[in-house]
């Protein structure tokens, strides 16, 4: 893979929107092995002082990484780039209501730097207009 023309510092990537429902949380719990009841039981979540069932921080970060995979797959032959570094703080809980629509997680991204074959992406991840990740970023090998 090589870095395509038009991917340079300042390039704005196409914002992605992903729905998250209680069903998403259950499915992620099974796939990840994270069965913390604050992600499926309102009773437990409120007992520990949360506003209600919240999404796994790691689901939020996984969806940010999904956007990175989708963007970088578009750069080449459809294969996502290898991620070298990924990180974020979980700054605001993502409360997921027990209804059919849930919430929408919005992932925006900008190319921060290109250094050799490494591309640094600065992300912004919001739910309901509120930033839910602090300083989310990824470094990929293009």
């Amino acid at each position: 893979m090589s870095i395509p023309s038009g991917i340079e510092a300042g390039t704005v990537l196409e914002t992605r929107t992903y729905p998250v429902t209680r069903a998403t949380l259950v499915r992620y719990a099974g796939a990840s092995g994270d069965f913390n009841p604050i992600h499926w039981s309102d009773r437990v979540a409120t007992a520990v002082g949360l506003p209600g069932v919240i999404a796994h921080g790691m689901l939020t970060q996984a969806l940010a990484a999904r956007a990175v995979a989708e963007w970088t797959a578009d750069w080449s032959d459809g294969a996502p780039a290898q991620v070298v570094e990924l990180g974020a703080k979980f700054t605001n809980p993502v409360v997921v209501p027990d209804d059919d629509t849930g919430i929408e997680l919005v992932v925006a991204g900008t190319v921060k730097a290109v250094d050799g074959d490494l591309v640094t992406l600065a992300l912004e991840v919001t739910a309901g207009g509120t930033k839910v990740l602090g300083n989310p970023r990824a470094v990929v090998r293009a």
């Binding site: 499915r27 009841p37 604050i38 002082g49 294969a79 990180g87």
Partner: protein, 134 residues
Amino acid sequence: MSLDSTLVGRTFPATPPYRVSHEKVTEFARATGTPYAADGPVPATFPIVLAFAAMNDFLDAVGVDLSRIVHGEQKFAYERPIRTGDVLTTALTVASLRQIGGNDIIGTRSDVTDADGALVCSTSAVLVHRGGTA
């Protein structure tokens, strides 16, 4: 309940060897909608499956209930891509510990190594242990 500051620097026993299967990675990729091909990179956050198992063992060892843990931060640094067929183990080290407002703020580092003992991915997490009476 506050955790004991002498935990800092302690490395807990590594998790049992875990074989990365195409089926498990596919399940994880589908749960997050992430594009994944059999010979391509696994989803970038997949090592959390290993790091989470190491964290569960750690919480059991120090007597902390999982429902009182909220994730504060997570980072991954890859030495090489994870491939299906890899046999990986994970060892958690307590990197830092401080108390703020009745909560323990636990910094952990979990190193994922392969069958040859080579580092594959270094993960670090901040875990917020919520205090209280429940």
